[in-house]
Symmetry: C2
Amino acid sequence: MSTHDAAAALVGRGTSPSGDFVVAALSRAIHEHRLAPGTKLGEGDLAEIYGTSRTIIRAALQSLAHSQLVEIRRNRGAFVAKPTPKEAREIFEARELLEPRTAHMAAQKATQADVALLRAHIAQEHEALAQSDSGRALYLSGQLHVHIARIADQTTISGFIEHLIARSSLIVALYWKRESALCERHAHHSLVDAIAANEAETAEALMRSHLVDLHSSIELPKSHDVGATLKEILGS
Amino acid sequence: MSTHDAAAALVGRGTSPSGDFVVAALSRAIHEHRLAPGTKLGEGDLAEIYGTSRTIIRAALQSLAHSQLVEIRRNRGAFVAKPTPKEAREIFEARELLEPRTAHMAAQKATQADVALLRAHIAQEHEALAQSDSGRALYLSGQLHVHIARIADQTTISGFIEHLIARSSLIVALYWKRESALCERHAHHSLVDAIAANEAETAEALMRSHLVDLHSSIELPKSHDVGATLKEILGS
DNA sequence: GAGCACAATATTGTATACAACTGTGGTGAC
DNA sequence: GTCACCACAGTTGTATACAATATTGTGCTC
């Protein structure tokens, strides 16, 4: 099902594919690596694809730009963001600062229902992997972290983590080394187990090591290429 | 000087008061408590004030909404945000999680130039207080935290802290207990001293206690009023 | 043939026009 | 007198038209 069909379906049901829908669709596409970093997002094209006016598209792109998933260059247009190695490092450092404590809180507060949701989520992730839908698996893998943050019942921090996860997806698209996500699978399992058992300290430690692991699976070129236009031309 | 004059001045210099300008102007007004939480921000009014079309105003309001300084209710318009006690607590918890470590990093990296900037900033703050321009003093007081975060050279985390400081301003407007900001003044001084001396541990500890102090100077009603519309009606 | 200037095209930025919705005030029935 | 309903005014949501800017292609000069 194409996104256009989805939009059409929504219209059919009476709900117009408003800004939120476009934001969600583009977010998903970026998360699932269907839109590569650097891709130009022309307003006219998107307006046609989603069957709406440029007004809506513009608002959506500005929203995504605020989330730093998209970069808007004045009079040039919107592009899927391309985090630099420095930015990538900073994003992981932020995650390493925020997520372990959040996992701690989540482990303290998690109810049975929460745990059930997490396990269901992991099951979905496995399913996607089984169908070798790696895009979707990647998306779900990130969303697990978001879910854990939500359990901690800290809306603000959850928001930050959501933001970081989204950008991490771009980093993976650009700098990912390994192919297999097997390690991840195991890490997520034991993490959820710790949360289920309300073992806050364990959950915190597991999250920390999981992030270190993730971080180390990323290859960040030392070449501190700030390259705005120059790199843009060579990089794509 | 009214904001309108400022806009006119900008136009005179050839730069039109584009979206960014409006965002900055409104941000400042909120920071300095000239716009109280709950204030309606009508698109038409703002368009007239800034001498631009609603298109620009809308984009600016959406940007502010993304920063959670403004709340947009569909078909109702934009209002200066009113963080609930729960949100306020979460914002402070986030600050307590992020800022101490950031102060630590800042203390490690701070150069003489950085420190000079911080001291100049504090001087400005004193000046504003001397002129009993409490709005500006409050704004500058928050900005010091942002500056410290910037010194840490962690763009992403700085962004989060900036966001949190901005919302903290709303919290102060709503729930501030004490009148005097004297304690602050002292706290900022010793904090900058620690950073100047590259004493990371001290800076971290000072920041932590400063935040706890700040947090305790806020009175958060226990009434867990989720009250969206209900509280809105009674509260104003 | 290479390099530059200029025109044509396409895309973004802004303003305006129109549609849809909300809230209010008034009128009528009960 | 009170309640329900309807019409109107005002505001927001969306689409479109126009202006400004970047990009591309062409032809001229050297």
